[in-house]
């Protein structure tokens, strides 16, 4: 209810500001509203990332269904210890779309090896079988979602959701550089593309994991 009220208030405020007419709305705010209106036309879920308020909202049809508070939003890239060249930030407002999410590749597959004829009535069941012929509780436990994972975005960036940001003090960065150098010396180094990193509580990282699947749009804007 609180979230619905909040959404109502935010849209009302936006509408009020628009009605007031004395100050022209900011062009970027208008662009963001148009983008959201475009997303709300479709019956899909979309995410709204507001770096200013540090929240990720789960929305559909303009309504906030859930809110995930963020601990931090950072641009994280791999850089040499000297002569850094930080990547330029993607422009906002914008709609990013998940091109490939970790959820898409982590499904459990069940495949019975052979099938026997189905029993015709309850009498045909083996002793110990449940007489319920309906959906059985799945024998496969659902694997727990990870707390740190990357999704590829259609704009060429990665979206990295994590409960722990890489340490950033000078000493820790030096240690990380030595460790990475050692890995590279052994041919095990990994090159990651720059990532917009959303730091959040582990429970929150787990619960949005299934949302970051291919095709999920993320509207990035400030103060909707």
């Amino acid at each position: 209810m609180f979230r619905s009220a909040l959404a109502f208030i935010s849209i009302s405020l936006a509408a009020g500001a628009v009605r007031a007419g004395d100050v022209a709305p900011d062009p970027s705010r208008v662009a963001a509203l148009q983008m959201e209106a475009g997303l709300a036309k479709k019956p899909n879920i979309y995410l709204l990332l507001d770096p200013e308020r540090r929240v990720l909202e789960v929305k559909s049809r303009g309504a906030v269904l859930d809110t995930v508070p963020l601990i931090g939003i950072e641009v994280i890239s791999q850089q040499p210890i000297m002569g850094r060249h930080l990547p330029s930030h993607p422009p906002i407002p914008a709609i990013w779309t998940v091109a490939q999410g970790s959820f898409d590749s982590e499904r459990t597959v069940e495949a019975p090896t052979d099938l026997k004829p189905a029993p015709k009535n309850d009498k045909d069941y083996d002793a110990g079988d449940s007489p319920d012929v309906g959906p059985a509780a799945t024998p496969t436990p659902t694997p727990e979602a990870p707390t740190s994972y990357r999704s590829r975005l259609d704009n060429g960036w990665d979206l990295w959701v994590t409960d722990t940001l890489p340490p950033q003090t000078r000493w820790q960065t030096l240690l990380a550089a030595v460790r990475d150098g050692w890995r590279r010396l052994r041919g095990r180094g990994q090159n990651h593309i720059p990532a917009i990193t959303l730091a959040m509580r582990d429970a929150d990282a787990r619960r949005i994991h299934h949302l970051l699947r291919a095709g999920m749009p993320i509207l990035v804007t400030d103060e909707m």
Binding site: S28, A32, I45, E110, G181, L185
Partner: protein, 231 residues
Amino acid sequence: MTAETPETPVTVEPRRSRWPLAVGLFFVALLLIACGVAAVLARMGRPFIASPFNATPSVGVVGQNAAQLTRLASEAVKEIQQVEPKGTYIVVDTYRNRLRLIDNGTVIRNAICSSGTGTVLKDPRTGKEWVFDTPMGERIVQRKVRHPVWAKPDWAFIEDGYLPPKDSSERFDNETLGDYAMYIGDGYIIHGTLFQSLLGRSITHGCVRLGDADLEFVYHHVPIGTRVYLY
């Protein structure tokens, strides 16, 4: 006669051990080598460097004057308001397995439910796959049925290791769905369960299961056409 010079006693200074110096030098050398190696490795390494995300809007609607911007913003706000859920609607959180029934902005029922496992079932004969996801997005209650009968699809047999029967009469089951069912399209249903103790877990094949009391409450408060938001 020779004057004997008194013999000065020769004091032999105890020879200083050079080991501590050698050991010290060894460790200094070791340290220097370690520092050198570390410097080379650090130069090769590419650690993660964070910089704050720039939240300053940098793009926007271009080529519009103030009046046009106001009109465009007003139109966008109206469009959003038109499609926003109103009145009675259902929200299902498939991760926490919670169903909320909302009436005019007030949550009138907060129920524990069960949703899809997200697993994939493969038919060993044909290779056909079923993905047991609860769909995401907006759906509409298309049909409401008391004492629903479930026509078991192929996957329900294959999952249990059985061949799907050719005689369709062997597919009907009037117990599994519970007392009420609300059909939300594409075969997905909000229904009851025989496995009440498993509510709150992701164990279904995509449908949303509710406990008896919650199912009855939702069924009686939800008219056909009610919007259901699943995420």
